[in-house]
Amino acid sequence: MTAIAAPTPVNPIALAAARRRRRVPYLLLLPGLLYLFVFYLIPLISLGRMALQSGNLQAGYELTWEWENFLQVFTTYRPQLLRSLGYSIGATLITLALGYPLAYAIAFRGGRWKNLLLVLLLMPFLVPFLLRTLAWRIILADQGLVVETLKTIGFLPDANGRLLATGWAVIAGLVYAFLPFMTLPIYVALEKIDRSLLEASGDLYATPATAFFKVTWPLSLTGVISGTLLTAIPAAGDYINSQLLGSPAQTMMGNVVESKFLSIIDYPSAASISLTLMLAIVVAVVLYVRSVGSEELIA
């Protein structure tokens, strides 16, 4: 028998070596932790302080514990909050509806084209985000091909009907921007599924449709959860799409924060709105993951 338990270091050199080995993981963590502390935790704390201040740029800001700052999200900016959540949920659902079949097709039917298809999926990332959104302005433009076609087939009944400056345009832009973020995690989850499981369910009297709902779908849930989170969270805070594809009637929370910070220079409001949005998203994510089943996320 060989001893399985770690040998007790007897000489001081071995002891020092063992101590050094124990320190290694912490040393490896250190740069990341330091970075997070300086560029995440400190700004977050200062954001929290800022949110409770009052005053203006000329007179200066003072910490007066203005808790009311947090309430304005639910009063003054309630439409923007609801719009943010609505657009985000809508975009996430549409992205899921488009991304799941796409991921399924690549994973199960991609064959030797699999890698090429994945590269094509990632291609849009080679074009800057802003440019891509501006391109959508052209695609959805009033005299553009899409609008004219929709008018011809009667989807846009009104002769003055337009897509730009509507909620649909914003959602379309969000869907386009986040499709790869939805598709990739789902693809990874589907790719991992042992194909013999599908043969086994066929052998056990499941039709292809039943096999999908009883085996493929539950086993791809990890990907669906990651994908929807990667889409919904950034989409809720996005302001580029509503700014470039929408009108003032489509402003989202991101736009409010942006204008408070950069145009109106009302730092306390901007800070409190950001924090509230952040908290709302955290709560929503926790509820969502709980309801879908956190077990799948860990498995």
């Binding site: 013999s196 499981l197 043969e199 066929g202 052998d203 056990l204 009297y205 539950p218 799948e296």
Partner: protein, 364 residues
């Protein structure tokens, strides 16, 4: 408790393959295969990888379509039916247990698809868990079980549906040797208990001989030899089977009547049955354990005798493996039980002798 189906022994074979051919794009996996498997048998398809045994099994299960030919299960033509429409179930090589379901739900999967009511599901799953000796594991997930236990779950998941034929695709391949031996005996017990026809694909000749009533040795998409394990071991008929199923000493010679003049002039005898209908150039074979070693000029030696020199002797406990060099026929493998026979040393002159009835003829 008998979770098996009511087996009908009306003489109709459980599985019948009628001129089955399967061609893939660039090769033919199975060629003009005809096979009948009797109801209630433990049948093994044995062969090296690429011999077409798995393809044959997959065609019976419905996972592959034959290029031509007809498959019948209990007399009923099932060619072209989807797997979920066939009265067969499969134990997959990798077990293919559903990782997201409990052991109970894994086993209940097929029953639920067939709309069996809850009370019945609970009873049948309980019965089959008892059969495979996993009672009490029903709330666990597959990954919490050992390889051998997962294997039993896979068998239970298939058997719970009362299939008329159970297909096993190299089911013990992933287990270590000791567990494999245990599971061989276990599977045989289960088969005898439920009485379902088992079709077992394996490349392990010992596994096939341990479990099966009938073995079909496949080679190059065809069945080379089929029969009871003892039958095909004692008389393999072809050179491939003689080499694949155990070890053989093959020797070339000329057959006249029931006497064979071996290369080098030694004459050995065959039984009349083994020599029947053959003449001229043949290969004869004898199994290593059928040969006994004697000192030269030992009159008690069996009638078929070959002289040689010991070139290798390895003692392995239950037996001693010798290699005997004959100048005309090459090396012979000889396995001698460690009884009271004397041992022979390297370089010693010996006579290897065996009985005529242990001599078989293989086609060249």
């Amino acid at each position: 408790m008998r979770p098996g189906p009511v087996t009908t022994n009306d003489g109709v074979p459980a599985v019948e393959l009628d001129s089955i051919t399967k061609r893939f794009v660039d090769f033919t996996a199975v060629e003009d295969l005809n096979l009948q498997i009797d109801d209630g048998h433990f049948f093994a398809l044995l062969g090296p990888s690429g011999c077409g045994k798995t393809t044959t099994l997959r065609m019976i299960g419905g996972f592959e379509e034959p290029t031509s030919g007809v498959i019948r299960l209990h007399g009923e033509d099932v060619t072209g039916l989807k797997p979920y429409r066939r009265p067969v179930n499969t134990v997959f090589q990798s077990y293919a247990l559903f990782p997201h379901l409990t052991i109970f739900e894994n086993i209940a999967f097929g029953l639920r698809r067939q709309g069996v009511d809850d009370a019945d599901v609970t009873k049948r799953v309980g019965d089959v868990l008892e059969l495979v000796q996993l009672t009490g594991r029903d709330r666990q997930r597959p990954r919490q079980l050992s390889g051998g236990q997962q294997q039993r779950v896979a068998v239970a998941r298939a058997l719970v549906n009362h299939p008329r034929v159970l297909l096993l695709d190299e089911p013990l391949g992933a287990l270590d040797l000791k567990l494999r031996k245990e599971m061989q005996i276990e599977l045989k017990r289960i088969q005898q208990e439920v009485g379902v026809t088992f079709i077992h694909v394996t490349h392990d000749q010992e596994e096939a001989m341990t479990m099966a009533d009938t073995i079909a040795v496949m080679h190059g998409g065809r069945i080379e030899r089929m029969g009871r394990p003892t039958e095909i071991y004692e008389d393999p008929k072809t050179e491939f089977v003689a080499g694949f199923l155990g070890a053989s000493n093959l020797m070339g010679g000329r057959l006249e009547g029931n006497r064979v003049g071996l290369v080098g002039g030694t004459v050995v005898h065959l039984t009349t049955a083994a020599a029947a209908n053959q003449a001229g150039a043949v290969n004869i074979g004898v199994r290593p354990e059928k040969i006994r070693l004697h000192a030269p000029n030992d009159e008690t030696a069996a009638p078929n005798r070959l002289a040689g020199k010991v070139t290798d002797a390895s003692f392995i406990g239950v037996s001693t493996h010798y290699r005997i060099m004959n100048p005309d026929l090459g090396e012979l493998a000889v396995v001698v039980q460690n009884l009271d026979d004397r041992r022979f040393a390297l370089g010693e002159d010996v006579v290897a002798a065996w009985q005529p009835e242990h001599t078989f003829v293989v086609s060249q």
